[in-house]
Amino acid sequence: MLDIDITRKTYPDRGGQPHVALQALRMQVQAGEFACVVGPSGCGKSTLLNLVGGLDTDYQGRIALDGQAPEGGIGFMFQEPRLMPWLTVLQNVELVLRDDPQGSQRARALLQAMELSEVLDAYPGRLSGGMQRRVALARAFVIEPRLLLMDEPFVSLDAPTANRLRVMLVDIWRQRRTTVLFVTHDLREALALGDRVFFLSASPAQVVLNLPIALPHPRTPTDAAVQALHQDLLQRHPELLAGGVESTARAHEEFARA
């Protein structure tokens, strides 16, 4: 289980006044659960991922994976593919492996599952954006992560490509049941992917709504059930996506009743 309890995360502002990015942010993700985090842009979603991923250790609070500070075994997918342009597709995936005799085989198998067998020895610069993201996805899964962090990985892709990647992601995730924390600003995407969606307020971010989703996988953002859920949410909580904290209490009550 991933247990996040951040008391306070500040950035030094240029004027000397610290800027509070996250405050009193609590969330729990069950093992094997696909959790999405949505919130207005600039609310600190990426900051949250950097803290969980250990890229930034300067904060007050506690983050625990199965009771311990998360150390290793974390897959990370960034907004951009972030592949090394001087390494081939296969080398890029193998780069993150550590003394693993089966690693190379697993890398090839994953790349095959991503339909990238043809380009194992190609350099990323020759690949399309969608293909580069598939490589990044294979890289995230090749270490057999206990936790997978994803920071709007399908942003800036055209809708069909993004949908295809979402299907691939959910496919692998269902086979491996990795715990996933998926950050996005696209509510429909979150509703389509997640077992649970956390809604964040505007900065300093707090969880304003914790919404479990019982719809069966796989689903796409254009599925009727997802659309209906989206409509329903917007009607009942038009202010939710604006991140209004005042609405929190009411939203919680209503969802408790529903």
């Binding site: 150390e71 974390i74 990370f76 960034f78 972030r82 001087w86 390494l87 610069g125």
Partner: protein, 277 residues
């Protein structure tokens, strides 16, 4: 320096894209034609030299043939190979020392602003101090020996390496470094596969300009305070007004530098920038 870096970073790949066939070497028709052009240029140079020497008819401008005969004679007597070997050893050692130290300081200055501020004044001094001054001082302080000679050459080269590599260290992409951090890669792996490849164009530019600068300075060092090496020989020939000897040694040395560039540096660069193709 900046121009060289830009060349290494931006211009070279563009040129490569414009003439992709060139990279296939002498086996393709275009490659063969290019090689012929280079050969023709060399022949024209020798021809012009020959004509000028025939017209001038003076011992201060010997004909190419006389110089080539001299090269053959000096090689056969093993005098030239011996001095050449000594000079090349000095070049290799001081080049290696200068690149290593310069790269370390350059990386450090590129990363720590405070250190950069602290050392920047020294760097400007190092860049502008005449080679002759460091050579004289090194000989005075450390004695007329090889250590002093190599220190003198390295001190002349280190500042330019630092400036180039510092530029590279500043251009390191933090987003790629984050990949190494996120996946908890061991530091050495991150350094070799994520950091160094980003620095590579700058290292290459430093090596290129370094080689041409260092072998020139090594000759001066030898002329001023060593009793062997090409620089020492050139001084001897100068005393006797032996222009043929001077040209013979210079030609051989220039040929070696061209070979190093063509057979080592350029293929190496082609190998490490394959992914740009």
């Amino acid at each position: 320096m900046t121009v060289k870096v830009q060349h290494a970073l931006g211009m070279a790949p563009q040129q490569d894209n414009a003439t992709p066939l060139k990279r296939q070497g002498a086996t393709s028709p275009v490659g063969r034609r290019d090689a012929l052009t280079r050969l023709a240029s060399l022949l024209v140079f020798v021809l012009v030299w020959h004509i000028a020497a025939s017209i001038a008819q003076t011992s201060t401008l010997p004909a190419p043939l006389a110089v080539f005969e001299r090269i053959a004679a000096e090689t056969a007597s093993l005098v030239l190979p011996e001095h050449l070997y000594i000079t090349l050893s000095r070049v290799v050692v001081s080049f290696t020392v200068a690149m290593l130290i310069g790269t370390l300081i350059g990386i450090a200055m590129g990363h720590w602003r405070r250190l950069d501020l602290f050392l920047d004044g020294w760097l400007v001094l190092g860049l502008n101090i005449p080679a002759l001054v460091t050579i004289i001082l090194c000989y005075v302080w450390f004695g007329l020996n090889d250590t002093a000679a190599i220190i003198a050459v390295a001190i002349n080269k280190i500042p330019t390496v630092v400036v180039t590599v510092r530029e590279g260290a500043r251009a390191i992409d933090p987003r790629l470094m984050q990949v190494g951090a996120a996946y908890r890669l061991p530091p050495w792996r991150t350094f070799c596969h994520i950091y160094l490849p980003q620095l590579q164009p700058y290292l290459m530019a430093a090596a290129r300009s370094g080689l041409s600068l260092i072998w020139k300075i090594v000759l001066v060092v030898e002329l001023l305070g060593r009793s062997n090496g090409i620089g020492f020989q050139l001084n001897v020939f100068f005393q006797f007004f032996d222009i043929t000897g001077i040209l013979a040694y210079t030609l051989v040395f220039a040929a070696i530098v061209l070979l190093v560039e063509g057979l080592m540096l350029r293929p190496l660069e082609r190998r490490v920038t394959r992914w740009r193709g």
